[in-house]
Symmetry: C2
Subunit: 565 residues, 2 copies
């Protein structure tokens, strides 16, 4: 805030010169944990105060509940599949007015160009977008990413006003063994927030990881894990994205055991546009927290002041004089349906549609070597590693079983699918092959160039020809999602921005998503989960117990490739 | 922490290589608000973890309570009267291991040289000393200080690793009127913590002050004031120093009304060495908070994690892996008598005595113009302004009354004293005269070169000759405190460092203090309060309702001199 703006803020507050007043609201005060009936005065994007006010423009809240705008403590915009400007419109409509973004996905495809692209594309949005610099590109050495980022590459971003800290440190093995390149990054960010990422890490390894500097975790899958991480000084983010839907049990245990909530925050991590649109964003997590017994004021604090305090966002996360006028009005504190959203003091309306200009550094990112028809054939003998999905979570179990074969090669069926990861950045021709249980596909295949975190092409199916057809379809359109059956592309959603995001308007993406879902319904049954999200995490070698990368089946606990192709 | 130290921290944590273990402690976890029985392992100044440990050296806590070292959120080291190294020894013994210091006092005498002196003298202490850069030197234009500090002067300190933010913004009038020089300072520190100082500011002025950026206050004298400041987003510090002893009522109301405590912190602000030594420091405030009904864990949080979080002190304020091993062991959670203190992993012992080298820039700071014998004569007629002390607080009431006279001049008595402020930096000869009710002096005078915040010489007495004698005594020794009766100096404590601090060892200062107290007892009765502290605040023109500066009697609410000399 430059000097004249500061002077105006002071004088307008002193003299009650409101430009806009939200009248007759039940105002949620996250500092004192009270709800007070009154007005909130606003001018020049700032809150002048809570009290009795009149202003040039007035909005009668009619007793609705006015909260500070919600903050997503950890999100990959790329996972929404939308360009940041369209993602912003989508989450602003739900009452999320600030996010801590980690450009980890695009960085794995495009390197620092990808990070700069996300900074540039979020510069003028009504959404406040802060960034953590991705720490693990690639996230391990057991996969092939599009780019590698070392500590020296990060220096250029350190002084950017919206760069806050170091993004989720996924390679916990590098951390707890004191690997030099990792230490450089941790040292560079030692006085800033550092996000952690440690599913199922306990005991001395957890303590060593904490000692290294990361101070948050969003990967807890049990209540005991939440408790242990809080105990050792971490902040824990309750995550509720498109996958990872088991957090409700944790919420109800937090409520039941009256766990102090000040070190809890909320995040979506990875959530598709159509899920945001249909059920909500951070407001959905708050709704579920309240439904599971957490007091509304505590849940709102997790979504506001807890995040603002942790990330050092002065003037965010509360309703008070001098705070940014990011506000959201809810009819009640159970549903959290946003009926009015203000950002920077302005009533939010989705932007008029505009055409985005393709950036050659970021578009055209899919480079796959030519495929031979038998490239998916997988010789097996005796007990073979199987990747088994844990329902509702990203966690997987590693099984070893005899599998059906034909001429010594694995013969997939609708319950036991063939899974493949194609290196898609450097056209190296590298292909990882595996066997998957937990998704059901009948006579078809699904494929995605979103494949955390190296974003190689991941494809699953019950027959080779549909799988190959799906790969062709994605190569042709610069990446995206495809559903194939009987040699025919039933649906395809192109994601030309780094093979991760669409440059189409929101309704086009949603339409594309609907077509995908309808095509999916014709080849399998999916319950609550989105098989594309499941697919996109099957190549992520930092979530236990087992993954498939372009280098082969990877045992996450042993940290080694156990079957290469 | 440089890279090799970080690697060692990780590996030692992973491999449980403890150098020192505190065994069998009841460990206070400020993150989870639990008390857990166990061991704490330490090495290289860092905590490796809580658990079951053995180490090269072991200390059996025998079930005593292990807390993170306490943090004083706002303190003027100068007000202890001791050199920072001796002050450190004194508060470390009480379990305070980190402080947020504001060198406001010495800066008012010596300018930026004084700030640099304090940074230099605290560089190698076992106490962690962080600094706020004084914002108001002088604190108003209605007094004469030794130096003036503008925003440009502050630039040199911005990159110092122990400089955190902007010190208490006392000139609230400059703030709420948007005065340019003040805005420069607020703008310079807009992304950092800014401490406030706003006794009895409410309503729109309070809101305008908040909008300007200060985010804490430590001047509340009523529970309603605490509530209002919290409501508008400020953090409130419960202060318990040598003066300002009315905070206990506030504590009991906080407990009674179950006010959320996460935005409360503790500070001493101004506390003399002998009070620290006799009753304690932050541990004393925690003790009183608990005695007044605040749960021990909440009081401990106020003294630890709440402060660390607010001031962005990573790895301070909690017991967890990678945290600084600043720890204190208490026999119980009611008395909070420190039985063992660790700082940076080392058991604290007071330093061996060493001679301090006088710094010519900082010593020899008392420069008063020659006095005529009648310089204290004060002509009065009709109702005259009287400065009346509020019991237990620094607050004063402005009265207008007829006063006793002799030949048209005010004639003091033991209940209605003469008060004078002598400009002592530039030998200008400027003297402010006033009348004081609330201290009792019989046949004597007391004088001090500690006179917040310009630190002119303040003297009070019931006769002119003792007052003049006291001034002579302080001029001679380079400043300090003096008690005079019947033309004789009964006791004198020299404070040659800027006229504010002693360079003598702790026991010498305490002995000097005892002599002062005993001399004081012979000329008046003082109840619980220390009249030198009362005296030292009588010239501070930012605490309502009325003060005396070298320019005359100052009405704080009207912001004007109402009677010059």
């Amino acid at each position: 805030m430059e000097k004249s703006r500061l002077r105006n803020a002071i004088i307008n507050t002193m003299e009650r010169n409101a430009a806009l007043v939200i009248k007759n609201a039940n105002i949620v005060n996250v500092f004192t944990e009270e709800i007070i009936f009154g007005d909130v005065a606003i001018r020049d994007g700032l809150i002048l105060g809570i009290g009795k006010y009149s202003g040039k423009e007035e909005i009668d809240a009619e007793g609705a509940f006015l909260c500070p705008g919600f903050i997503d403590s950890h999100v990959h915009i790329e996972s929404s599949m939308a360009h940041p400007a369209r993602f912003a419109d989508c989450i602003l409509a739900q009452g999320t007015t600030a996010i801590i973004a980690d450009s980890h996905e695009i960085a794995n495809v495009c390197g620092t160009d990808g990070i700069q692209y996300m900074l540039d594309q979020t510069e003028w949005l009504p959404l406040s977008v802060f960034f953590m610099i991705p720490s693990c590109v690639p996230c391990t050495g057991f996969e092939t990413s599009g780019a590698k980022i070392v500590a020296k590459d990060m220096e250029q971003f350190l002084s950017h006003p919206r760069v806050i800290g170091l993004g989720e440190v996924m390679d916990y093995n590098a951390v707890v063994t004191g690997e030099g390149e990792m230490l450089d990054k941790l040292e560079m960010f030692k006085d800033r927030p550092i996000d952690g990422h440690i599913p199922s890490l306990f005991g001395d390894a957890l303590k060593a990881y904490c000692a290294a500097g990361p101070d948050t975790d969003h990967e807890c899958i049990t209540f005991d894990e939440v408790k242990e991480k809080l105990f050792h000084g971490m902040r824990v983010f309750l995550r509720y994205g498109s996958a990872c839907r088991g957090v409700e049990d944790i919420m109800s245990l937090i409520a039941k055991h009256n766990i102090p909530t000040r070190r809890l925050q909320l995040c979506t991590d990875d959530k598709h546009m159509e899920h945001i649109n249909s059920e909500g964003h951070i407001n959905y997590i708050v709704r579920r927290a309240v439904a599971n017994g957490i007091p509304a004021i505590k849940a709102i604090q997790m979504a506001t002041i807890n995040a603002a305090e942790h990330y050092g966002l002065k003037r965010y996360g509360g309703i008070a004089p001098g705070y940014r006028a990011d506000l959201v009005l809810f009819d009640n504190l159970t549903d959290f349906n946003a009926k009015l959203v203000l950002t920077n003091g302005i009533v939010f309306k989705p932007a008029e549609e505009r055409k985005l200009k393709p950036d050659p550094k970021i578009y055209n990112s899919v480079h796959i070597a030519p495929r031979k028809p038998d490239c998916l054939k997988q010789k097996v003998e005796g007990p073979t590693p199987i990747i088994e999905l844990m329902p509702k979570e990203l966690y997987t179990f590693l099984r070893h079983e005899e599998v059906p074969t034909e001429n010594g090669f694995f013969k997939p069926n609708s319950q036991l699918l063939k899974l493949a990861v194609f290196e898609r950045h450097h056209a190296s021709g590298r292909i990882g092959l595996g066997i998957l249980r937990g998704l059901e596909i009948n006579n078809g295949a699904i494929a995605s160039t979103v494949g955390h975190d190296s974003h190689n092409l991941v494809v699953a199916g019950d027959n080779d020809s549909d799988m190959l057809c799906a790969i062709d379809a994605l190569e042709e359109c610069g990446g995206g999602y495809a559903v194939v059956s009987g040699g025919k592309v039933l649906a395809r959603l192109p994601l030309p921005i780094a093979g991760l995001m669409s440059d189409a308007p929101l309704n086009k993406i949603l339409e594309g998503q609907r077509k995908l879902l309808s095509a999916l319904a014709s080849i399998g049954s999916w319950g609550e989960s989105d098989p594309f999200i499941t697919l996109s995490f099957l190549a992520l070698p930092v979530i236990p117990e087992v993954r498939l990368t372009d280098m082969g089946v990877f045992d996450v606990k042993q940290m080694k490739i156990i079957s290469d192709s």
